[in-house]
């Protein structure tokens, strides 16, 4: 693997960026007077700041590298992750779920579960979430250090400790506010850092039409229609006609509904950004404002991947992607190779800074969600409950939140080394993540919109969904899988053409079984909560939000219509 030869100007750009992110933490330090300021950003963020942080949290480096790689692998079909996946889910979260998350005064998603259902449901979710976020943060760190070692030639251990120290530095100083501010900064640096690649890439292949023409022979050689890689819905009539290997209803149900709603509407890491907003209207507008840049991100990260596919099939461009041990191109490195292919010293530093920034904010996001759940949902619930002295409590929990930040970063480092020992741990965790979110969405959705849903039902529903997901994973396998981590560890009953199809159907089965079991158990168990306890938590018992005093263009309903109209236009344009 070639190593980038960085020049002083590239290092200067990086150093300026790191100075700013640490500086933000340092300036915010003096506002961190109590636990609420540190762990909930004092519920004071303007909607646009929370909105950009909302999508930035998800725009981690694994997402950027993965999506560009997927663009090269599957073409524009990957935009489904955005236009049918994320956007409708974000609108749904804003319009129908945020009023309950925010209005209930819950400080976390597990706490909402406690208020709506019971202690055991909260405990199950909180503990799973805490473990998962820390592992995710560790994996992010591992991937970052590995990349720095391979691509920049820096020492693995030094890279790991340095990046952990920077993340710890600004989250310890400024808590959630600092994480959110830095996510906004990261959003801009990613957009500005990657724009030159989009521009130069499209310039080289001759614009959008040049891209389509360049793709035609490559795509027909793979056995698809000439425009299969630049269409989104056109070839989803049958699974074999499109590179994703999924029919339209699999995309619609699996990705569009279960996976995306599960991820965007229940993952506390994401929802926490909206919970930090300054008012109910701001909390609802957070995902909606985020949705507007979100739907254009495919042009920033997927289109360069599609460009790379044309380049790597044209020897005169001199563009290659390094191969993995099995001879297949290592698509995860697509974005790195594009940076190398196009960018001279100066903007190269900017592009690499964008990538480093996205790694770090991924870690910081996980750490800041972890310390909130740890402090409120585990420590305060099971170890040291609140007393009558609110002021002393708040000081105490602030201290615990700070310690949890240090503790979280330390376990992340341990998890990073663990990831290095077991190569498959990443695949394994991604599989587990997709199993946890789908049932959680089913349970929260039922809880919000059906007041009969009981605590026992929620708990059993979560466990059933998880068990069914495991079972489905154990019985099916994607074609060409070589390890049991990919599935089929019980016995192989069904083979999916691609891994993504397996993931979709795992989520669909998990969500469906969880819904059925939760409904069934709700009928046979007694509701423990009375109507007054459920006010503000359930749709039918909560007074409707009035937006009459908000100027029309700032109303959530106006924004939601705008977002949906815009995404529909994009979908039709790239049909």
């Amino acid at each position: 693997m070639e190593i980038f030869q960085l020049e002083w100007i590239d290092y200067t750009v990086m150093i300026i960026y790191f100075a700013f992110i640490l500086g933000i933490g340092w300036v915010l330090k003096r506002y961190m007077k109590d636990a609420s300021a540190f762990l909930e950003a004092g519920r004071s963020m303007p909607a646009w700041v929370a909105g950009l942080a909302f999508i930035s949290t998800n725009l981690g480096a694994l997402e950027v590298m993965g999506m560009t790689g997927s663009g090269a692998k599957y073409g524009m079909l990957v935009t489904h992750f955005y236009w049918i996946g994320a956007i409708p889910a974000m609108v749904f979260l804003a319009m129908f779920m945020m009023p309950f998350y925010y209005g209930s005064k819950a400080r976390s998603v597990p706490e909402y579960l406690k208020l709506r259902f019971d202690e055991k449901t909260r405990g199950l979710n909180a503990i799973l979430f805490a473990i998962m976020t820390i592992l995710a943060s560790g994996i992010s760190m591992y991937a970052l250090a590995l990349l720095m070692e391979k691509v920049l030639g820096w020492d693995f251990n030094v890279s790991l400790v340095m990046s952990a120290a920077i993340v710890l530095g600004y989250t310890y100083l400024g808590g959630l506010s600092s994480a959110i501010y830095n996510e906004v900064l990261q959003f801009f640096i990613i957009v500005i850092g990657l724009l030159p690649i989009v521009f130069l890439g499209l310039h080289e292949v001759g614009g959008w039409h040049g891209l389509q023409e360049g793709l035609a022979p490559i795509v027909t050689a793979k056995g698809y229609a000439a425009d299969a890689y630049t269409s989104t819905w056109k070839y989803t009539g049958s699974a074999t006609a499109n590179p994703l290997g999924v029919e339209w209803y699999g995309i619609f149900g699996g990705l569009g509904f279960v996976l995306s709603f599960g991820y965007w509407c229940t993952n506390f890491l994401i929802v926490q950004r909206a919970m930090s907003a300054e008012s109910t209207t701001a909390a609802r507008n957070t995902p909606l404002i985020g949705a507007i840049p979100k739907m254009f991100i495919p042009f920033l990260i997927i289109v360069p991947g599609v460009v790379a596919l044309v380049l790597m099939n044209n020897p005169t461009t001199g563009f290659t992607i390094p191969s993995m041990a099995n001879g297949q191109p290592n698509y995860d490195l697509t974005i790195i190779m594009l940076l190398k292919h196009y960018l001279p010293a100066g903007v190269l530093g900017l592009g690499l800074t964008a990538l480093l920034a996205s790694f770090m904010s991924g870690m910081a996001g996980n750490v800041s969600a972890f310390n909130t759940v740890w402090t409120y949902d585990i420590y305060q619930s099971y170890i040291r409950p609140a007393t009558n002295d609110k002021e002393a409590d708040s000081k105490h929990y602030l201290k615990v939140g700070r310690l949890a930040t240090i503790f979280g970063v330390l376990i992340s480092i341990a998890a990073a080394y663990l990831a290095g020992l077991f190569g498959n741990i990443m695949d394994f965790l991604q599989t587990i993540f997709s199993m946890i979110n789908a049932p959680l969405f089913a349970v929260i959705f039922l809880g919000m919109f059906w007041k009969r849903t009981t605590g026992h039902a929620a708990f059993i529903g979560l466990l059933t969904g998880f068990a069914v997901a495991l079972l489905h994973h154990g019985l099916t396998v994607p074609a060409g899988a070589t390890t049991l981590v990919k599935g089929g560890w019980i016995t192989v009953l069904h083979i999916y053409p691609v891994e993504m199809a397996q993931t979709f159907w795992t989520a669909i089965y998990a969500c469906a079984s969880s819904t059925i079991v939760t409904v069934f158990v709700s009928f046979i168990t007694k509701q423990q909560k009375n109507n007054s306890e459920l006010t503000g938590l359930v749709y039918s018992l909560t007074p409707k939000l009035k937006e009459g005093n908000v100027i029309w263009y700032k109303r959530s309903s106006t924004l939601a219509i705008f977002v949906l109209a815009l995404v529909t236009t994009l979908t039709i344009l790239f049909w």
């Binding site: 506002y31 506010s177 900064l185 500005i192 130069l200 001279p344």
Partner: protein, 66 residues
């Protein structure tokens, strides 16, 4: 609370100035910009960032006056 537009504006102004100067300094280096088809990408990016940074700083001022 700190207005986020201040650090954003400051950072992009500084980076913008840096890359614009670097772009000018390397303007005759055609070998360096062969990768980017002769486009002095540092100059353009630097200029873009500078404008963006200054707009952010200007918005901070306007907000204050309100």
């Amino acid at each position: 609370m700190l207005d986020i537009k201040i650090p954003i504006g400051l950072m992009f102004t500084i980076l913008g100035v840096l890359l614009t100067i670097y772009g000018f300094a390397t303007i005759s280096n055609t070998a360096m910009y062969a990768k980017s088809f002769g486009i002095n990408i540092n100059l353009w990016s630097g200029f873009g960032m500078l404008i963006f940074g200054l707009i952010m700083l200007a918005l901070t001022r306007i907000n204050k006056r309100k």
